[in-house]
Amino acid sequence: MTVRRPLEGLQVLDFAQFLAGPMAALRLADLGAEVTKVEPPRRGEAGRSLLMTDQRFGETSGLFQTINRNKSGVSIDLKTDEGRTRAHDLVATADVVIQNFKPGVMQRLGLGYGDLRAINPGLVYASITGYGDRGEWTALPGQDLLVQARSGLLWMSGDSVPDRPVPIGISLVDVYAGSLLTQGILAALVGRGIHGVGMQVDTSLLEAAMDLQFQEFTGYLNGSALPRRCSSGSAHSYLDAPYGVYACADGWVVLAMNPLERIGRALAIEEIAEMDPAGEREQVMTVIARRLADEPVQAVMGRLEAHGAWAARVLTWEQLLGTGVLDQLEMLQQVRSHGAGPFTTLRCPVRFDGQVLTSDRPAPRLSDGPDLEGRD
């Protein structure tokens, strides 16, 4: 038996809203599972109206389309007995349930793990919460920026002058939590194959935020000082010079870990070879920054590459598109959208047997009827 997509034949019910949960379901869909989004009637899940730059594809937000493509949909009012019965019927033949309501909500709806295990013992029941199910923060809004702010993550990026918190400008915690849940679900499916039973897997935005910092945080827990950013050009709180960003006459370059002696030779500032990359981090970075300020990027990169330094030019998205790299990676795909032209998005970033996995199926449509037509 040859199955092209690794999860072909598996059924997933996506009860989730907003970002993290639906992103886990999207990955499973791209890996071949049949994902059915279960939404409340009329308005659908809250993510349908979550806008990024006011962008809409067809009737819903562009962001909703981006993370709910390749799913089918069904509209169920889970607060009615009839709705609950319908949901239970769907669960009976499902392999995976994904939900990201606050702790206790699914239990009150008769859709907790205990309820659903009784219907389907092989079920993998996967939840993302904001802060786990114990402790003082469990009832607080589980939102990306708020979790970044609570987890210490805001003191890692940016410079120390002025010394202010700098957030990461994408929904990183959501994206990473969704990825952790996907890992948990897939491990549970492997575990079901080995042990013959279903199980419950959980993660939270807070656990994701701490796992993102786990190396640096472990250093701190065992005696390192709090993270220390540089006054300019910071790229990592705990890495020595020359690790950082440097302005050239017409653009920027980054330097990764490099022996100072090599950078000194490449840039004709041999004096830095005698300096301490840790104790004199700021001073070394200042010498390099002064040296590069008046020279064009291309000349700087030429010198650095000739000496085998770990360096790269900083690109914008426009410049990146001009390199042709995205085409070579087959990174982009076209997705149909209801009531509008196709839109372009990124494919699943894992390749199997050298093949990329793509799908042009859009997000399910929202209608006022009891069922959303998704299987078109």
Partner: protein
């Protein structure tokens, strides 16, 4: 089944160094797999010498400990024919082979996917590279900051007046490791059902793009180039008031919130009606300035009282010290203590996935180079076929 036994019996052979590859091995180990790290005799994984922190645990730097805890180590000189034969025997009995050497290295050693598949058809062979099939960068080092710089990520943080601002954690390594784990586990699900092995690949550059999938998709479909604004915003594409605001004695983070709530909380009626209220995207800078002026006059405590009372999504910004106090993290299961022979136990975070309500993970330290070589040799002599035989 104990929660930590999820992947019990799954045998993983790790030919990896540095960060992203070993991270994938760590996750599989915490989920119950037996991870054997194959290392060069003597010096071992290059990561043992990568000093990101001067803190040392049992003679190793703490970062190496953190990402290699719980694994076993077998020392093999892959250039030596006898040791290479041992490696071949090992991969012939593995469920998963994991490698992040540069493309071509494993093939030259006779340990490429085609070689392994010939003796082990069900193997899931996972490769992580810097740039995948991108030819123009194929000779360049696959390193986190370099990939960030090339992928456009550095224009999403900070303010318009800043230059590029990197994500100051190894986020591309972390995400690439996570993607590889997803690919491996998906392939194991299929292998369990069909007996079909496969090659799973991802790269740092694909991980960097995937991190920006939401924003890049907006851009690719007509959104303007990300505008970080004159203040430091928290997201170039989200409407006001999303961002970080200084108070009289600290900072608060304000997430997406209806402007009328914010207006009531801070006494800013101009946010509730009229021009600003009607378009939080177009007037982002103006709205954020008004909010910033109001919050600067309050202490963090007073600001949070006002914002909470009106159900605005906001929190005080914490550092790690405050985080540890507020979460009581040292006393809860957010952290774990890893015992180390001949040294104090060290504290680290645990596997961020819970199974049946319990935390999972191994509590052992990182191995010394080759500490399990003899034990693994003995196992090889008697090791049965792979665990997939047992999977239905």
């Amino acid at each position: 089944m104990e929660p930590g036994d999820l992947l019990a019996g799954v045998k993983v052979v790790e030919f990896c160094q540095f960060l992203a590859g070993p991270l994938a091995g760590l996750r599989l180990s915490d989920l119950g797999a037996d991870v054997i790290k194959v290392e060069r005799p003597g010096s071992g994984d290059v990561g043992r010498q990568l000093y990101v922190s001067r803190v040392r645990v049992a003679g190793e730097n703490v970062f190496f400990q953190t990402i290699n805890r719980g694994k076993r180590s077998m020392a093999l000189d892959l250039k030596d024919p006898a040791d290479r034969e041992s490696a071949r025997q090992l991969v012939a009995r593995a469920d998963v082979v994991l490698s992040n050497f540069r493309p071509g290295v494993m093939e030259r050693l006779g340990l490429g996917y085609d070689d392994v598949k010939a003796s082990n058809a069900k193997v899931v062979y996972a490769c992580l590279s810097g740039y995948g099939p991108v030819e123009r960068w194929s000779d360049d080092p696959g390193q986190d900051l370099l990939v960030q710089a090339r992928s456009g990520m550095t224009w999403l943080n900070g303010a318009a007046s800043d230059g590029p601002v990197p994500f100051a954690i190894s986020v591309v390594d972390l995400h690439a490791g996570a993607l590889l784990v997803q690919g491996i586990l998906a392939a194991l699900v299929r292998a369990g059902r069909t007996g079909q092995g496969c090659l799973v690949e991802t790269s740092l550059v694909e991980a960097a793009f995937e991190l920006q999938m939401q924003e890049m998709t907006a851009f690719l479909n007509g959104a303007e180039t990300p505008d970080r604004g004159s203040r430091r915003t928290a997201h170039p594409y989200l409407a006001a008031p999303y961002g970080i605001y200084p108070t009289g004695d600290g900072h608060v983070a304000v997430a997406m919130s209806p402007l009328d709530r914010l207006a009531n909380a801070l006494g800013l009626p101009e946010l509730a009606v009229g021009r600003l209220a009607s378009s939080p995207f177009d007037h982002r800078g103006e709205i954020e300035e008004a909010v910033a002026r109001a919050l600067r006059l309050l202490s963090t405590t007073r600001a949070m009282e006002a914002l909470d009372r009106h159900h605005v999504w906001a929190v005080a910004v914490l550092d790690w010290e405050e985080f540890l106090t507020q979460t009581a993290a040292l006393d809860t299961d957010l952290l774990q203590r890893i015992p180390v022979a001949g040294d104090e136990p060290f504290l680290t975070t645990r596997c961020p996935i819970r199974v049946n309500g319990d935390v999972v993970g191994r509590v052992g330290p990182a191995p010394e180079v080759g500490q399990d070589t003899e034990e693994i040799r003995r196992e090889l002599a008697t090791m049965p076929a792979v665990v997939q035989e047992a999977m239905k």
